[in-house]
Amino acid sequence: MSITLAPKRRGSGLGLAMPAILLLLAFFVVPVALLLLRSVTEPEPGLHNYRTLIGSATYAKVFFNTFFVAGVVTLVTVLVAFPVAWALAIMPQRWASVIFAVILLSMWTNLLARTYAWMVLLQQTGLINRSLMALGIIDQPLQLTNNLIGVTIGMVYIMLPFMILPLLGVIRKIDPAILQAAALCGASKGQALFRVLLPLAAPGIASGGLMVFVMSLGYFVTPALLGGTANMMLAEMIAQQVQSLVNWGMGGAAAFILLIVTLGLYAVQLRFFEPKPEVR
């Protein structure tokens, strides 16, 4: 799900775009507006929902957790996705297509099923703990679920394709001869990575990273199943407010803050990383 702006066209595209605009209005803008309205009217008119959210230590912790987990997940996803994208970019096209298909297939497999699969793998008596113990690497099962480790593993796995795709896009565009040139200039593998490859891949890292970060901010299923109660995330809190406490005002306010943060991040990305038209 990538957010791309339609190319600017001169003249009368508006008529053709009308159905799409109406659809967006009906299904996105109106519900968000209603939510915003409820956040400033329920239980009574005013900004008190926002004041509570920003003011209280409990909620501050939820916000912190949300950003922290999203940050960790984004970082780990970049670290895992980069070598994978690199390998896909340089391996023979036929193999790359197969591996790519596998990645896409996993994207289309039910999210809940995949998260439960991780639960089974990561739990105290799960495959990972038992294997590690059998190999004698650990004596006691590791606590891999109901904490940050579980959330990170589960979410990184789900986010990987969203990072690999944009990375592959930028890496495929890098001419291998540029890296050969760097080598003859005297750059070791590490120097070539940090001085050439990473800077050239930066737009892909930025757009993939933003997408992963934003999606992670609003994630519900994985944190709810693999995370502990100690690190509740914003989406869990919104669900709790709306479902258990039927507090639409608070839920709406939290959702709205999330939306503003997301749009802010997107604006930053557009400003700094959108590829500029090439001048030749």
Partner: protein
Amino acid sequence: MTTPYLHINGIRKVFGEVVATDHVELSIAEGEFMTFLGPSGSGKSTTLYILAGFQDPSAGDITIRGKSILSTPSHKRNIGMVFQRYTLFPHLSVGENVAFPLRVRRMGKSEVDARVKRALKLVRLEGFEDRMPAKMSGGQQQRVALARALVYDPPVLLMDEPLSALDKKLREEIQFEIRRIHQETGVTILYVTHDQEEALRLSDRIAIFNKGKIEQVGTGPELYANPATHFVADFIGDSAFLAGELASVSGERAALRFADGTTVAAVPLHGSGRAGQAAELMLRPERIELATEPGPEGASLPVTVEDMTFLGNNTTLAARTPWGAALSVRLNFGHPLAANVARGDRLHIRWSPEAAHAFVRG
């Protein structure tokens, strides 16, 4: 013989079924400008890439001052290279591109600045430090690439068809610059091209590549005057080839007989051959003279004029030999025959015996 400066010693490279280079053997003197000339796919780039360390040879060795460089990784070979494609780092300014080799060598700032300045001056791009590569023309980008390849004073510079993407006029301009830079720096250059004019203009010596092998090495005039093989004769300069057979061989000279029994005598023969073997007579158009009478010593052939084309400084005649082989003959502007020659005229082409070559076919 003393050890050569750079020695390419029996390099062979196989990609699966394809033999890219086969026993390439070449010695290059320090400060020499050596060009690899040959058609596309003849193994020129592969040889250069093995020198650069991007590929390992299947067999053979490369030495500089007698020491093998094959076990040294690319980034430690201290060799400069300019590529066919534009390979400037697109995220770095011109100044930072040229500074790159110095930065990875952790050179001090003042030294870096001084060297970048000197290198940009060498390629006549002073003051372009802050320009981004994308805002420069192809010719400028290749000059920056040249500055980047020379800024760390590599003893050897490799260039793989660096000008092939540029138009003719710009190409000639930069060829001139490359010559000047070679003279100013004294760097040993290995230059790859498929353009014979470029090779002749730039090089001290030229190695002619064909199907992964070197056919002949020599200076431009040597190759032109004394091509060792049909391939070299065909590749360097225009030439006409007339197919026939060896009538007789004596020492390094041969007589050739053509389909209708016409013979020519005392042609320098390349390679060994016996009477009766298929062979070709090679003639350079500018060494052919048109006359109304046959020449002495059998160094002439009768021809019939079929067509004339006026091209300014010369008139080019399409002619045919008695046995039907086509041949083109140039008459310089002002040649007494140029004004009077007509279609269907029966004339003779003549040459000095040294100007013809016979190649055994096979």
